[in-house]
Amino acid sequence: MSKYTKMKTSFTDKECLAAALREFFSEGSVEVFAEPTRLVGFEGELRAERAEIVVRRCNVGAGSNDIGFAREKDGTFSFFVSEFDRSVYNRGTDTRYDQAFVEKIKQPYAVRVAEQTLAALGFRVASREKVRGVMHITGVGF
């Protein structure tokens, strides 16, 4: 049984984090729960670790365990991944499920938080463009 490791992240918005993850997995692969749910190991056994955002093992890789993001008391999410899966490759992010994977999620996460905040401030997104890897978003309001 591969031990889970926990990586701290700076993500705080559950829906924005789930939406960012959906860029890198097939449709329906990213599950969101109101309460933390048990992760499942590669043999189908329930593991002690719990998470509110879960990608089931069949969508992670062959012989994989679930991966998940769990809310901490300080409001941030931690990333749960098994030691085995830290060496598994994710085609969407072009990384293994390690710190590099977390880094790849940061841009799409920030895009969603930025656009959500623009809407809350009464701005609409007038343009969104990616130029040489950098996202440019313009919000306009009256």
């Binding site: 938080v113 313009t138 306009v140």
Partner: protein, 64 residues
């Protein structure tokens, strides 16, 4: 006047933003809300000259 917020987010999730068409405290309020929402992600905040301007008074004097 149209208010405008230009946001850039690099590949590492580092955010910078510029606010245009909003003067003084209104600009600072928007900047603070953006920074709060993007907790830990904001690297750079650019102030345009409008930031340092005082908002125009609204309303007019009527009669003597």
């Amino acid at each position: 006047m149209m208010r405008r917020i230009e946001i850039t987010i690099d590949e590492h999730g580092v955010v910078s933003f510029t606010i245009r068409g909003v003067k003084g405290q209104g600009c600072a309020d928007i900047a603070n809300k953006l920074k709060a929402a993007l907790a830990g992600e904001v690297l750079e905040e650019k102030h345009t000259s409008e930031y340092y301007e005082r908002p125009q008074a609204v309303g007019k004097r009527v009669g003597q």
